[in-house]
């Protein structure tokens, strides 16, 4: 079992004819993802790798192929528009990989999304994977293994680190969601936690956060009230200097808010096991799972 994506996912790739879009589409198809369409304005009618039909618009792709999930590899200047187009065409889930979208563009996207049912993952994220079934994004497939741990993270490579630790210790993953490192993004830690909490096949979770904002604190509060599954967490950025943007635009500590220390305290207060270092994320969760048994 899994959340959001699986065997029934029919994927459309926006930006399929670009270098990054093309490369990762092939990787996803090799993993077994059902890619049914691509979209590049002006290139409608072509076939990607002699297999996947390319359309000018997402709504055409939807009408012709019945795609229900979209992944976006469109360059930053056009990516926000791409998100809106996918939602307008009725995609249930939109995953935006693109990095470097202006914050004002994302602000308008979020406002436009209000009252709509489509979900957004990202932007500036590695994507989502249900091991053994469906990979949508840029993560290396082979480090994953089907199983029962849900992984939620703002960071790409740090997610791989956690997944690899789990897999090397014999623990598979139900689904791994990279929610992205931007200050304004789609799905939050809390949204993902709720999905995993309701998923009967997910038995435990790893929550990876970083400095800036208060999304981790909100998730912690909800977990304390509502979640009985073991949860381990790690917060990156404890050593980051205040006021500086640490690669992710969202990772700025300002005015004493959003610090790693504050987040760790909130997580611990909610009964979540917090790993001391990024090298012990899986071990911390496994330890907590044993304690709960």
């Amino acid at each position: 079992m899994s959340v959001l994506v699986g065997k029934n996912t029919r994927l459309v790739v926006q930006g399929i004819t670009g270098t990054a879009g093309g490369f990762h589409t092939r990787q996803c198809m090799e993993y077994g993802t059902n890619v049914v369409a691509g979209v590049t304005p002006g290139k409608g009618g072509q076939l990607f790798d002699k297999k996947v039909p390319v359309f000018d618009t997402v709504s055409e792709a939807r009408a012709e192929t019945g795609c229900n999930v979209s992944v976006i590899f469109v360059p930053a200047a056009g990516a926000a528009d791409g998100i809106l187009e996918a939602m307008d065409a009725g995609m249930e889930l939109v995953i935006c990989i693109t990095e470097g979208i202006p914050v004002m563009d994302m602000m308008r996207v979020k406002a436009w999304m209000r009252g709509r049912t489509s979900r957004l993952i990202g932007p500036n994220c590695p994507g989502i994977i249900t091991p053994g079934e469906c990979k949508i994004g840029i993560m290396p497939g082979y480090i994953h293994k089907p199983g029962k741990v849900g992984v939620i993270s703002r960071s790409g490579t740090l997610t791989y680190e956690a997944v690899w630790q789990l897999t090397s210790r014999g623990h598979g993953q139900s689904t791994c969601i990279g929610i992205g490192g931007d200050p304004i993004n789609g799905m939050s830690h809390l949204d993902a936690v709720k999905l995993f909490n309701d998923d009967p096949e997910t038995e435990a979770m790893i929550l990876i956060g970083e400095i800036g904002g208060s999304a981790e604190e909100e998730a912690a509060e909800w977990i304390q009230q509502n979640c009985r599954k073991p949860v381990a967490a790690f917060i990156a950025g404890g050593t980051a200097p205040p006021g500086r943007r640490m690669g992710h635009a969202g990772a700025i500590v300002s005015g004493g808010k959003g610090t790693a220390a504050g987040k760790i305290e909130a997580l611990k207060a909610a009964g979540i096991a917090v790993a001391d270092t990024p090298a012990t994320m899986a071990d911390t969760l496994i330890q907590r799972m044993k304690e709960r048994r």
């Binding site: 914050v103 960071s155 640490m246 690669g247 990024p278 090298a279």
Partner: protein, 395 residues
């Protein structure tokens, strides 16, 4: 990205926000000339650096204060001569201070009262938020602590924008008289247009002053721009002053690397921002101190990795280097080749610890093993961090 005070004022004027007239100059002669052109004997001379606390700062030559009033063009000239080319140390610059290359010569405004007015992007609501207070001229954090009831918050609908009634409401809450409401609300709308039009993450006017004659002027302004949006504002990108930045960071940005200089002695080269932060954290956890944050990104080329490595080696504080790569899109053999190339051209005098995992890891490890480089290989992140901390201590 940050800009200087004089640049901020130019931007405000362009959007219809009044500021005291003035000019930025880079020599004492120009200072005197600018003062004469202003046609007044009530002048202020302000050192232009990207740091706060200028008024209370001290120059390395002992001269006190980076902001002074002057009563004549000759006095402005003398003050400019004492500041230009000198290093100003404030509570925000650190002990190294910043060299003053420009001073602003401006009309000194008479002040009846001071107001705080800022527009920022509130990530919790994903919308603009106006924060204002009748207690201007001091840091807003101080007001928030001592008299939180004096802080006004006005949320803005991101699609509709600031509405005229909201601007009028703010003007009233900030104590303006009926006769001033119209002009003041237009000023607020001008500030909002600046905020949206230039893709700012924050515009802060502190203080916004009211003169005895009822004139409303922005006396100082601070802008934070969204780096992601600079591509559509070339005129803002051109305002970047690299002399205000860490030279290591300027060098890194030329190669498209994401680098932030820190005080420690363990250099790190990592792919991905989250993992780069986490690598710094684990170095600290084992008792070491990171010399930098460096994210080579997801799709770095061999050339970029070589540049990154050269940058780390050129830092004299560095006593050990940790390369931590989890290859996803990034392939381990590309990283390995970049390191080998760099090591050929620079003299590597400090221990190098390499931890590779992910895509093409076997090929990457093989390249390094066959290169003859003195590399300490690490099995996992914990092992790598402990080895690099130990190596830096021994050095």
């Amino acid at each position: 990205m940050n800009i200087h005070e004089y640049q901020a004022k130019e931007l405000l004027q362009r959007f219809g926000v009044a500021t005291p007239s003035g000019k930025a100059v880079s020599s004492a002669e120009e200072a005197e000339q600018a003062a004469r052109e202003l046609g007044t004997d009530d002048l202020v001379v302000k050192a232009q650096i990207h740091a706060g606390g200028r008024g209370k700062g001290t120059f390395a030559n002992g001269f006190q204060g980076g902001v002074h009033l002057a009563k004549s063009a000759a006095a402005a000239r003398d003050l400019a001569a004492k500041m230009l080319g000198q290093t100003l140390v404030t509570h925000q610059t650190g002990p190294v201070g910043r060299v003053v290359n420009k001073v602003l010569i401006a009309k000194s405004a008479e002040i009846r009262r001071e107001i705080y007015f800022a527009i920022l992007l509130d990530r919790a609501t994903a919308a603009p938020l106006i924060v204002a207070s009748t207690e201007g001229g001091v840091e807003i954090e101080t007001v928030a602590e001592k008299s939180p009831e004096k802080i006004i918050r006005e949320p803005i609908d991101p699609l509709a924008g600031l509405q005229p009634f909201q601007a009028r409401k703010l003007a009233k809450q900030l104590g303006f008289e009926s006769a001033q409401i119209k002009s003041v609300s237009q000023l607020f709308e001008g500030l909002y247009r600046t905020f949206i039009g230039l893709d700012c993450s924050m515009v802060e006017v502190n203080p916004l002053v009211v003169t005895p004659g009822g004139e409303v002027l922005a006396l100082d302004a601070k802008f934070n721009f969204d780096d992601n949006a600079l591509y559509r504002h070339p005129e803002i990108a051109a305002m970047r002053d690299t002399q205000e930045e860490d030279p290591r960071e300027v060098e890194a940005s030329k190669s498209g690397l994401n680098y932030i200089g820190l005080e420690g002695d363990i250099a790190c080269l990592v792919n991905g921002a989250g993992l780069a932060m986490a690598t710094m954290d684990i170095i600290k956890f084992y008792g070491g101190s990171p010399a930098n944050f460096l994210d080579v990104g997801g799709g770095a080329t061999e050339e970029q990795v070589t540049q990154a490595f050269k940058l780390l080696v050129s830092d004299a504080h560095v006593r050990a280097i940790l390369v931590n790569i989890f290859g996803g899109i990034m392939q381990c053999d590309v990283i390995a080749q970049g390191i080998i190339n760099a090591a050929k051209t620079v003299h590597l005098s400090v221990p190098l610890i390499v931890r590779l995992e992910g895509t093409n890891v076997a090929a990457g490890k093989k390249l390094i093993a066959e290169s003859g480089l003195a590399v300490i290989a690490a099995d996992d992140l914990g092992d790598a961090a402990q080895k690099v901390v130990k190596a830096a201590e021994r050095k």
